[in-house]
């Protein structure tokens, strides 16, 4: 990748998110500052309740902060209304969820092009073909989700996230519902998307094996960024996680 980033793909600045009030107050995010570089595959890890999902929801414009700022590219999400947020999600952000990724009434291809169809944009055919072939979905395009295996469904979800060439893709436990072999396959596809197709992916996971596919791991605990690893191995990740648990 030759492009030099003048700014990160996404960033959180002094981000705080507080649920409830007074005695029942829960600080899901507590003054988090973190950024995600273009062309990187980042994993966010942390024990249950560490705030990792909340961080991702806020980064993706699905949820709003109590204080602090979130930037996608150079756009401050707090400045956007619902309409602009919708457009941002459609054009700049891609999503991969744990399950319920696809619209059951649409075919695989229709699911892949859905964000662009919704925006009334014609998909770039060449890129679409690249993505479809990269995800090995050529023979499955006319199938409905119910006719696809769990791994195939998730590959369609990855393809959909890639299809609109978003600035950044957020993945929420993308392998959580899959067996380890299929999970590894999906992660390989995602890694491929970053290294060969120059995409940016931020993935929330609690699986050290999954995190090992990332270029960088950010550890969260009690709503704070507590640690970071570059080019991690699963053993290193497991070790850090154990320490966080204590």
């Amino acid at each position: 990748m030759t492009q030099v980033a003048s700014y990160p793909a996404a960033a959180a600045l002094n981000a705080s998110k507080i649920y409830g009030k007074d005695d029942s107050e829960v600080r899901a995010l507590d003054d988090v500052t973190v950024d995600f570089q273009l062309g990187h595959f980042t994993a966010i890890m942390g024990p249950s309740g560490s705030g990792k999902s909340t961080l991702m929801h806020c980064l993706a414009g699905l949820d709003s902060l109590t204080s602090g700022r979130v930037l996608i590219g150079d756009t401050d999400l707090a400045q956007l209304d619902d309409k602009q947020l919708t457009t941002l999600r459609r054009e700049k952000v891609g999503f991969i969820f744990q399950a319920y990724n696809l619209i059951p009434t649409l075919t695989a291809l229709e699911n892949i092009t859905l964000p662009m169809d919704l925006g009334g944009v014609k998909p770039e055919q060449e890129w679409l073909d690249t993505v479809i072939d990269a995800m090995n979905l050529r023979n499955r395009l006319s199938h409905r989700p119910s006719e696809l295996s769990g791994g195939q469904q998730q590959r369609v979800a990855v393809a959909r996230a890639l299809a609109s060439r978003p600035q950044i893709i957020f993945a929420d436990e993308p392998t959580g519902n899959l067996d380890s072999k299929t999970g590894a396959e999906i992660l390989t596809f995602m890694k491929h998307a970053v290294t060969h197709l120059h995409q940016t992916i931020v993935m929330v996971t609690h699986d050290p094996l999954a995190a090992a596919y990332a270029d960088r791991v950010v550890f969260l605990a009690d709503g704070r960024v507590v640690d970071e690893l570059s080019q991690p191995t699963s053993a290193q990740v497991l070790d850090r996680m154990k320490r966080l648990g204590n």
């Binding site: 999902s53 929801h57 993706a60 699905l62 949820d63 619902d82 309409k83 919708t86 457009t87 999600r89 459609r90 054009e91 999503f95 969820f97 744990q98 399950a99 319920y100 990724n101 696809l102 619209i103 059951p104 009434t105 649409l106 229709e110 859905l114 964000p115 169809d117 919704l118 925006g119 009334g120 959909r160 929420d172």
Partner: protein, 854 residues
């Protein structure tokens, strides 16, 4: 390229076709009702137009007396003197003039009994098949001799006569014997549509039918080659004042128009019930969409997450409503043709002779059906669509963040405001009655709709505690429901989605509220009527007429001559213009005072014999009239009279608001009088059996007469009311069926939603039977809740309507406890019926597959 919203919408409908099916059915039945009402009235009206054009086709002109006001076709006209006939026939261009004369005449059958007919028994003047009134000669000859008669073929057959037989006929002047010379038909039929028609030579008719050289009207045929309007003008020239000549076409139009007015009222009543069905359907549609939206929570959130805008989500859900609306409307219009045919068949089977000549589907019918069918569906989908568009995208990952429900307090305020505005509008319409019938009706109807919506909204708040209460007390004689696991589950399930429970119950609430309202009003009318009858009617016998044609006056005269009877009075009626308004005026003998106690509070009933007017206290108060005051009246034939008030009375149940004496009536109208009914009292010392035998003996000569004693009379009046009520209830059943459909639908959708939960229950050892029972109990809780709401809303509505009705109609308000209890009990059955399909579905679940369901 198809837009993704359109594609998603269409796929959404297809994917949920079975869940949507019941909804579609509800819209289909509503639209079918609407289009059926239009198709029916249009078809009957065009058939009637054709019928009269055909029947009166040969009549070019008709000479008749004028009326001063009122409906031309139904007006009571003075007769036309026959002396005009020879003069008119001399006018150039006139081919034929004949006297149109129609009087009661009963055929005595070969076995000596009078021929019973479902229609009127007429004698007419007719002397040839080339006549103008559409009568045809099927066999034999026309009655040329003075002792000849021709009878319609079907009556002759039923009476057992053949050509050449001697026939006894009872006419207004008495009994006589004639030779049957011909059999006639009307148009291309064999009879007169349930009537018996005896045709006499005009001279015989004049004597035997007591026409006294007068006719009802004169019919004129014009020679070919002469201008109708020129002949009409020449006839016009020679006619005295107050006699007019009109074209046959106009006369036919007047008659069919007047019948069509009645058909229109019938059609409007049907439309009213169609509106109720549609209103109930709207709840069902709303409910289905609300449930489907909540079941698609994650899918909709996912769409939002990948970039669908709120407008796109809204368009998608409303689009689904639109598709359902279009399909259902199409089916509904087709169904309307079936409904029209069904209603026609139903009413014909009950004895009404609806003419049918093919079904008329006008553009108006299609447009109105499309507008209503699609409008209702789309409107009902709007709120669920808005809720769907408010689903936050984050719900794709965290479904528990799905819906931000309307705040309780906000809902209470909205519900209460709607309810109060509804009550206000309803009361204004009912009690203040501003600006005439239309505004009164509109205001009451809109008020009622708002009232129902308000109650539906508020019922969400009480759905949970009410369900708990119902599940505790319902099976009280046995084991409380909450003691068993299925019962407890049912109760909890009904409580956990109060919004759904409430809106499902609301559909039933509307239907049953209307049933309760009607039953309260009906019970009150019945009670008031019975009370007034019992307190004011002292007659021992009433003689009424089966065919609504009235009784010949000779009947009352012969009864009066009987020694077994004391006072006898006929009741006649005419119309008059009083203070610019058309009123029905009753005409009786002063003896009526012994038969009906009208409650004279001032003056006396004997003053009727002096040509004075008696009136009810209400118009007396409204017009500021007292004893001795005078009132100017215009009779229908145009003559005016100044009547002195001779008495004021309080009981209007049989007498109406205005009474005059028979002498006054004979000055008011020269039309041959008929008696609507006759009241008689037994003479002192005569047993009721003897008196009845004597009355029945006279009645033998008047086959359409029915003799009733007081309790029989009362019962026949109540039967009429009950028949009307049966029709009203029958039409309301449509709305209730749709509500039952709604409960079944909600239960089916809930069961679908809880597949995994049911799988779990089965896995931990719950039997199929228990699972079914639990679904059934839940349906019963919902329907009992709906029925209770309906009764609670319906009773006060009924009481208000009963109170708003005029005193002459309702004096006592009564709540029919039996009916109300029956409604509540029936709602349990409704629940059981609605649960049949969903319960069966639950029992069929495959345990493992159910648990694997997400």
């Amino acid at each position: 390229m198809v837009s993704p919203v359109v594609r998603l919408t269409a796929r959404g409908v297809v994917a949920r076709k079975f869940r949507i099916l019941l909804t579609t059915l509800a819209v289909v039945s509503g639209v079918a009702f609407v289009s059926g009402a239009f198709v029916l009235t249009d078809s009957v009206k065009s058939a009637i137009d054709n019928l009269f054009e055909e029947l009166r086709g040969d009549i070019d002109l008709e000479v008749r007396t004028t009326i001063a006001f009122g409906d031309e076709a139904r007006g009571e006209r003075d007769p036309v003197p026959l002396s005009l006939l020879p003069e008119i026939s001399k006018i150039e261009g006139v081919r034929l003039v004949e006297a149109n004369l129609r009087r009661s005449a009963t055929i005595i059958k070969a076995d000596g009994e009078p021929l019973k007919v479902s229609g009127p028994a007429f004698g007419i003047a007719w002397d040839g098949p080339e006549g103008l009134d559409g009568r045809t000669l099927i066999a034999g000859t026309a009655p040329k001799g003075t002792k000849d008669v021709a009878i319609d073929k079907s009556s002759a057959k039923r009476a057992g006569y053949e050509i050449g037989d001697i026939v006894t006929i009872v006419g207004p002047t008495g009994k006589d014997q004639f030779t049957l010379v011909g059999l006639t038909g009307s148009g291309n039929t064999n009879g007169g549509g349930g009537a018996s028609i005896s045709a006499f030579n005009p001279d015989t008719a004049n004597d035997f039918l007591g026409a006294q050289d007068q006719a009802d009207s004169l019919l004129i045929g014009v020679l070919p080659g002469f201008s109708l309007s020129e002949v009409q003008a020449s006839v016009e020239e020679m006619l005295p004042e107050s006699i007019e000549v009109i074209t046959g076409v106009q006369a036919a139009k007047e008659i069919s128009g007047s019948i069509n007015d009645v058909i229109d009222i019938f059609g409007k009543v049907l439309l009213g019930f169609a509106a109720i069905s549609l209103f109930v359907s709207a709840f069902l549609i709303f409910n289905t969409f609300a449930i489907i939206v909540s079941q698609r929570l994650r899918e909709l959130a996912l769409m939002r997450a990948v970039g669908a805008s709120t407008q796109q989500i809204r368009a998608m859900i409303i689009g689904e409503g639109l598709i359902i609306g279009i399909i259902a409307t199409g089916l509904g219009i087709l169904g309307g043709l079936g409904v029209a045919q069904g209603i026609t068949a139903l009413f014909n089977a009950a004895g009404a002779a609806f003419p049918t000549a093919g079904l008329t589907l006008s553009l108006r019918t299609i447009l109105v059906s499309v507008f209503i069918g699609i409008g209702v569906t789309v409107t009902a989908a709007i709120v669920p669509a808005i809720r769907a568009s408010r689903i936050p995208p984050v719900a794709a990952m965290r479904p528990e963040l799905g819906f931000s429900a309307l705040q309780r307090s906000k809902r209470l305020v909205v519900g209460l405001t709607t309810l109060l505005v509804g009550i206000a509008l309803f009361s204004i319409g009912l009690f203040l009655q501003p600006g005439g019938t239309i505004i009164t009706l509109a205001s009451s109807a809109i008020g009622a709709v708002l009232l129902f919506l308000g109650v539906a909204s508020l019922s969400t708040t009480i759905a949970a505690p009410a369900s708990r209460l119902i599940s505790r007390i319902l099976p009280m004689p046995f084991r409380p429901m909450t003691r068993s696991v299925p019962g407890r589950l049912a109760s909890r399930n009904a409580q956990r989605t109060p919004r759904r429970t409430a809106s499902t119950a609301s559909a039933l609430m509307v239907g049953l509220a209307l049933v309760s309202t009607v039953s309260v009003v009906a019970a009150s009318v019945k009670k008031s009527f019975t009370e007034q009858l019992q307190s004011s009617v002292t007659a021992d016998f009433f003689i009424t007429n089966l065919s609504f044609q009235g009784l010949p006056v000779a009947f009352a005269e012969r009864l009066d001559a009987l020694d077994e009877l004391g006072s006898v009075s006929p009741f006649r009626a005419t119309r008059a213009l009083v203070n610019g308004e058309e009123k029905q005026i009753g005409a009786v003998k002063p003896e009526m005072g012994d038969i009906v106690d009208v409650g004279v509070i001032e003056g006396s009933i004997e003053s009727l014999a002096e040509g004075k007017l008696l009136l009810h206290k209400d118009p007396a108060r409204d017009l500021g009239l007292g004893i001795g005051d005078s009132l100017d009246i215009t009779w229908q034939n145009g003559t005016t009279a100044t009547l002195i008030i001779g008495g004021i009375y309080t009981e209007a149940v049989l007498a109406g608001n205005w009474l005059i004496g028979l002498e006054t009536l004979s000055q008011a109208s020269k039309a041959p009088p008929v008696d609507f009914f006759i009241g008689a009292k037994i003479a002192d010392g005569v047993s009721i059996e003897d008196a009845r035998a004597a009355v029945e003996k006279v009645a033998e000569d008047f086959p359409s007469a029915e003799v009733q004693d007081q309790s029989e009379f009362q019962k026949s009046q109540e039967d009429q009311l009950n028949q009307l009520l049966a029709i009203v209830y029958g039409l309301l059943i449509f709305a209730i069926l749709i509500a039952v459909l709604g409960i079944a639908n909600t239960m089916a959708l809930s069961v679908y939603e809880r597949t995994r939960e049911f799988g779990l229950l089965r896995a931990v050892g719950m039997s199929k039977r228990h699972l079914k029972r639990s679904v059934r109990w839940e349906a019963i809780i919902v329907s009992v809740f709906g029925a209770t709401l309906g009764v609670v809303v319906g009773i006060p509505l009924g009481v208000s309507v009963a109170m708003a009705l005029p005193d002459s109609f309702v004096t006592t308000t009564q709540i029919p406890v039996n009916t109300i209890v029956a409604i509540l009990l029936a709602s349990i059955v409704v629940g059981i019926v609605a649960a049949i399909f969903p319960a069966r579905r639950t029992a069929k679940l495959d345990v493992l597959a159910a648990i694997a369901t997400q």
